[in-house]
């Protein structure tokens, strides 16, 4: 296990402690495993909460910040936080205008967030809504798109919903644009090496030295095919083709594209992928707005990359470009 840690059982808590003391002007941890804005909830503003397993920084906790999220419940590595922690996150995000639960479609997270919603509705009289990210195109067929997993598309949804909330929109309006952002996102991943969950101590999957897996999920969920590593342009081509098949784009359409590293894959290689992805969009007459290239949604030290496309109209574009700030991203 090539990791820098103390007791594996303390991995998440020590990581959160370090994050909060490094950026006390952005993050606070009022309750164990719940990260909120340093200044508390903003009165009158719609709150946005997310949650999920640790090991994906900047996702999830990293995106708490101005123009982004208000609070986040965080579980063990790759494991859901508890319903009670989620309920705490909702309470901490509540500025009196209701709270949007915005997170990825994973069974455990959904059950716990539903339970948390019931808890705060009963106990605290907080109105909540839900938008689920289901952007991973290989995780279910188009006909069952609602069963898809949420991956890096979350970044766009956080940004866009966060901007709407910051601008003073009410809960229904924030929920509407969050859903619109979620509906406009499509993602696909590929992996070259696994990562190691500290408490498990062994890699999440095995893969040969010369092999890659197309379509693999961010926790090592099985993909579409596994074979010898292909050249970057072929990889980018297959990923773009699958994304564009799922959400066809027309000449003149506008998108933002996120070329994201799962952790170990360096920025150099993301730019090599981006270069070819852009050629595909250029050839299709599609305009790129505010491309993102970097580590926005990771799986610790996993090697691999994801590509996300979000189709933008003027409303989404404006919200995407609005100012935002957290320790990992400043717009």
């Amino acid at each position: 296990m090539k990791k820098i840690l103390n007791n594996p059982a303390d991995y998440v808590d020590e990581m959160l402690e370090g994050m909060v003391v490094a950026h006390p002007e952005i993050y606070a941890q009022p309750v164990r495993r719940v990260i909120a804005r340093a200044g508390g909830a903003t009165a009158g503003k719609v709150g946005i909460v997310t949650g999920g397993g640790s090991g994906h920084l900047p996702i999830f906790t990293g995106y708490v910040g101005k123009g982004l999220l208000d609070a986040c419940a965080i579980g063990d590595v790759f494991a859901s936080p508890s319903a009670e922690q989620m309920a705490e996150a909702i309470r901490l995000a509540d500025g009196g205008a209701g709270v949007l639960r915005l997170y990825g479609n994973y069974g455990g997270d959904v059950m716990n967030f539903d339970m948390a919603g019931e808890m705060v509705e009963m106990e605290n009289d907080i109105r909540t809504t839900t938008v689920l990210l289901t952007d991973d195109v290989v995780s279910a067929a188009k006909e069952e798109a609602e069963k898809r997993r949420g991956v890096a598309g979350m970044v766009y949804a956080f940004k866009i919903a966060g901007a709407a909330a910051e601008a003073g929109s009410d809960l229904d309006e924030v929920t509407r644009v969050a859903q619109k952002a979620a509906d406009s996102c499509r993602s696909i991943g590929m992996a070259l090496t696994p990562c190691t969950i500290p408490q498990a101590g062994k890699p999440t999957f095995e893969i040969d030295e010369g092999e890659m897996e197309m379509g693999m999920g961010i926790h090592g969920e099985p993909g579409i095919w596994r074979a010898a590593i292909k050249p970057a342009d072929e990889i980018a081509d297959e990923m773009m083709t699958r994304l564009l098949d799922d959400q066809p784009l027309a000449r003149g359409d506008k998108v933002s594209i996120l070329v994201n590293s799962l952790g170990a894959t360096p920025a150099e290689e993301l730019y090599i992928l981006f270069r070819h992805a852009k050629k595909r969009l250029d050839a299709a007459g599609v305009e790129i707005v505010m491309p993102l290239v970097g580590r926005y949604a990771t799986s610790m030290e996993m090697t691999g990359a994801t590509i996300t496309l979000i189709k933008l109209d003027d409303e989404l574009e404006g919200l995407l470009k609005a100012p935002a700030h957290c320790a990992f991203w400043t717009v």
Binding site: S80, A83, G107, G108, M111, M115
Partner: protein, 197 residues
């Protein structure tokens, strides 16, 4: 009549029995998911067995639900908690329950779990086991219930082995899940076996 003490005794038995099944359940879940199910189940029942149960059966069942929530937030933990919570609602205010009420409690738990997980019977999950148990207990004498439940849970495991998983993490394995036991159904079998152990 079953009171809070009897429930505590039963929890102790289940905790011991599922502790011994930890590795088996983890590897079953490892083949179709993230391999944590054995931990979820054994930790959950250990925590529940250690809890101080109030005399009110409803509150006792609520306490069990909370114990599960505290130590595990993986799907199965949340589902088990949901099931106990539903049974708690039905038995609140009583210091003991009649064995004849048990089928109704299992049915309530099953229905709450279906709602919580947005699953369907036939998806090859713990729900199918719960449903089989609920149906098997219908109209039975108290004495035969445990054996009937074990038979029903065991039959479910075998019946679904040859079918594909349609829900949860295992869904992604599609046809590859055929031939493999659903870890949640297997866990349910080990849990009801615990009652007899």
């Amino acid at each position: 009549m079953i009171d809070s003490k009897a429930i505590a005794t039963a929890l102790g038995r289940i905790a011991r029995h599922t502790a011994g099944a930890t590795d088996e359940l983890c590897s079953a879940d490892g083949a179709l998911g993230d391999g944590d199910l054995g931990i979820t189940v054994s930790k959950g029942f250990a925590e529940a067995a250690a809890a101080d149960l109030p005399a009110d059966v409803g509150l006792a069942l609520l306490e069990i639900a909370k114990a599960f929530q505290r130590v595990s937030s993986s799907s199965y933990g949340t589902l088990v908690a949901t099931g106990f919570m539903a049974a708690a609602k039905q038995s609140k205010g009583r210091e003991a329950i009649d064995p004849a009420d048990i089928p109704a409690l299992v049915t309530a738990a099953r229905d709450a779990m279906i709602q919580r997980g947005k699953g369907a019977l036939g998806d090859k999950t713990v729900l199918d086991g719960m449903d089989a148990i609920a149906r098997a207990l219908e109209g039975l004498e108290a004495a035969g219930m445990i054996d009937a439940a074990i038979r029903a849970a065991g039959a479910t495991v075998e019946e679904y082995r040859g079918k594909p998983n349609k829900l949860g993490r295992a869904r992604m394995f599609g046809e590859k899940s055929i031939g493999l036991v659903d870890p949640g159904q297997l866990a349910l079998l080990r849990i009801v076996e615990g009652l007899k152990s």
